[in-house]
């Protein structure tokens, strides 16, 4: 996937390009305050990164596109709703830009940021 064949030749979209679209879509989603480096996602996340490829992994498996996103969510929002809207927004923007179907978008909430306590 990520490839299209036209009469003039093929078009290949690299996973990194997809990750960039996903990155911008994620940061525009309400409730997301940052992305977490995926290799640290299992442990304690201390850094908040702003580089596209970190925190987002895009995989092509045969004809399928799978996107994994590791996010930091604002404390005090309903995490379920935020994650759902991240998945929807990312899918929407990637599909719109690529014209290809995204098979799965997994959102991993790697941590919460507390900016205010009630």
């Amino acid at each position: 996937m990520g490839e299209e064949t036209t009469s003039l030749g093929g078009i290949h979209v690299s996973p990194n390009a997809v990750a960039t679209i996903a990155y911008h879509a994620t940061l525009q989603s309400y409730g997301v305050v940052g992305l977490a480096p995926k290799n640290l996602a299992d442990g304690i996340v201390s850094t908040i990164t702003r580089e596209p490829s970190r925190g987002i992994s895009v995989q092509y498996k045969e004809d399928e596109i799978h996107i994994d996103i590791h996010v930091i969510v604002e404390y005090g929002t309903r995490i379920n709703s935020v994650a759902e809207s991240v998945a929807n927004t990312v899918r929407f923007h990637v599909e719109k830009a690529l014209g290809l179907k995204v098979n799965t978008v997994n959102v991993h909430v790697a941590g919460l940021r507390i900016s205010n306590t009630d």
Binding site: H24, L27, S29, V32, S81, S85, T89, F92
Partner: protein, 555 residues
């Protein structure tokens, strides 16, 4: 409706405690719910957060449920409880932002026994700051901008106002202006010719509070002049009230500018189900009135303009006809215990009938503009003598509700995410009641992609999407949900659609005609299609769906 000045004066002097706050937010929640379809209609097609009005309304409803039995008089405590309810019930993007706004507000006022003007301003400022903290890249021209301008407006007005009512008026004025300005900030809104939906929702919530203060009705949707072509007068029949026996429709050209507020106020005295449409200087007014008042609206309108056409219909007689046609029951498939039952969402009686003939066990009414709730779907299968259920939502906006029904029930439910009626029918053809639920659902999912879906409908506003320019009132053609053509006649739209679908390489086309078309008319269109594509087998079926002249299944 006029403002009740005596009431406003009384309320101005009243201190705002927890109970007063409760009444205010109840009004806000009610008013948003009343207008939620208006907010939904503002969604820019296609966006990820489907029904903003519904999501916001449900979020605030959940917040309201949290406080509705609370007896506390402490303002801060009541605000905190309201905010907690919103957090727990937040639905969709707009719902999450709303919950953050309320959380900020409640933090700003948490120590207030009664609301002071300073605390009001502080609460709004905290609401603004908290809302902005929730996102890395805030987009202006959205609900965020509206809460920002509302807070700024209230702060600027603080020095010159005497009481909370005045402050609320100023805040609402700022909100209104911010909403109107959103198309200038966000190009996609301008392109679609709408204001931001979330911002408008927030505006309605605040406006409901002020309407409560003014003593104005919260049950009738806000006056709204729609495009003439978008008036759905047929739908108005469904909400006929007792005693409102006559339907009056008057076309007229007003003398000079029409004073809409006064016009509505006058009409509200006469009857119910008021709708006003406008097109090129001509207005159409629709109202339901009691028998003795049937000439009153006509006389009134003659006084303010030139009447060009009048239609009077006896609603009671029409209702009898509708009852008669409804009485022809649909025979659904019976469910054997242990077998799989299929539940479908259907937009029209004709389509329901076809589904029933394919062995569907139950139908939930719903479609493009009336999405059934999770509860509606749930109750359709809860009492069935089997725990294996497959749901076909047949509309992209209903897939989520179907999935929620799946989540809350104990039954073994699979949702086959059909986005259109033809997909649903195609899926139904490979249904096997005796199989394993997951395996059967898998097969149905495969089958649904064998069909292309076309839709012919009328545009309700001017817009440009995917390079197709559409004028309000034009016929538009959609192929698998994407806008592919616009034209001035249904026939041309149909041909353009078939060409885009590559009809010359297909075999069967089924036309499901809508509720406003007769079988004979539909047959004429079918003949035209047969004349152009000799390779196609064209079938005509009664669909009965509203809004869409045709739904096409192309195989």
């Amino acid at each position: 409706m006029a403002i009740d000045t005596a009431r406003v004066e009384k309320l101005r002097k009243r201190t705002i405690d927890g109970q007063a706050f409760k009444r205010l937010v109840e009004a806000g929640v009610t008013w948003l719910r009343t207008n939620q379809q208006i907010v939904n209609a503002l969604n820019v097609f296609p966006v990820p957060d489907g029904d903003t009005g519904t999501n916001m309304s449900l979020t605030l409803q959940a917040a309201w449920n949290e406080i509705k039995d609370s007896g506390t008089h402490h303002f801060g405590e009541m605000a905190a409880a309201f905010s907690k309810g919103a957090l727990m019930g937040a639905r969709g993007n707009s719902g999450v932002i709303t919950s953050q706004i309320l959380r900020g507000f409640s933090r700003g006022v948490h120590d207030q026994k009664t609301l002071t003007l300073d605390a009001f301003v502080k609460g709004l400022n905290e609401a603004r700051d908290t809302a902005y903290k929730g996102v890395v890249k805030p987009v202006e021209g959205t609900i965020l901008t509206v809460i920002k301008e509302t807070a700024n407006g209230a702060e600027a007005a603080r020095g010159s106002v005497k009481d909370a009512v005045e402050l609320l008026e100023m805040a609402l004025k700022a909100a209104d202006e911010a909403v109107k300005n959103t198309p200038e900030q966000l190009p996609i809104l301008k392109q679609a010719g709408v204001v931001d939906s979330g911002g408008k929702g927030l505006f309605f919530f605040l406006e409901g509070m002020l309407r409560h203060v003014y003593g104005e009705s919260l049950e009738t949707p806000t006056m709204q002049v729609q495009a003439l072509s978008a008036m759905s007068l047929e739908g108005a029949l469904e909400d006929v009230e007792e005693g409102q026996d006559y339907e009056i429709v008057v076309d007229f050209v007003p003398n000079g500018e029409l004073d809409l507020q006064g016009f509505y106020a006058k009409l509200e005295e006469m009857g119910t189900s008021i709708q006003v449409g406008e097109g090129e200087g001509m207005y159409r007014m629709h109202i339901h009135v009691p028998t003795e008042n049937r000439y009153v609206p006509i006389d009134y309108i003659m006084g303010i303009g030139t009447v060009t056409k009048v239609a009077i219909e006896n609603l009671m007689a029409q209702m009898d006809d509708i009852q008669k046609s409804k009485s022809t029951q649909i025979q659904f498939g019976t469910v054997e215990p242990g077998n799989i039952a299929v539940v479908v969402v259907s937009p029209g009686t004709g389509i329901s009938r076809i589904f029933a003939s394919l062995g569907v066990a139950a139908v939930v009414a719903g479609g493009q503009t009336m999405n059934p709730s999770t509860q509606d779907i749930l109750s359709s299968f809860e009492n069935m003598p089997t725990d294996k259920v497959i749901i076909l939502p047949n509309n992209k906006n209903i897939v989520m509700a179907a999935n929620q029904a799946k989540d809350v029930t104990v039954k073994n439910v699979q949702v086959v995410p059909t986005r259109t009626v033809p997909q649903g029918l195609a899926a139904m053809l490979s249904f096997d009641p005796g199989g394993e639920v997951a395996a059967v659902a898998e097969r149905m999912l495969k089958a649904m992609s064998n069909v292309q879906t076309g839709e012919i409908t009328v545009a309700t506003r001017s817009v440009e999407i995917d390079g197709v320019t559409v004028k309000d009132g034009q016929v538009i053609a959609l192929l698998d949900g994407k806008l592919v053509a616009s034209s001035d006649t249904v026939e041309h739209g149909l041909f353009a659609l078939l060409e885009k679908a590559g009809a010359s390489e297909h075999e069967i086309v089924t036309l499901f005609f809508g509720e406003n078309m007769t079988h004979a008319e539909a047959n004429r269109f079918a003949d035209a299609v047969r004349g152009k594509y000799s390779n196609l087998e064209v079938e005509v079926q009664e669909g009965g769906q509203p809004h869409y002249q045709f739904i096409l299944s192309i195989e």
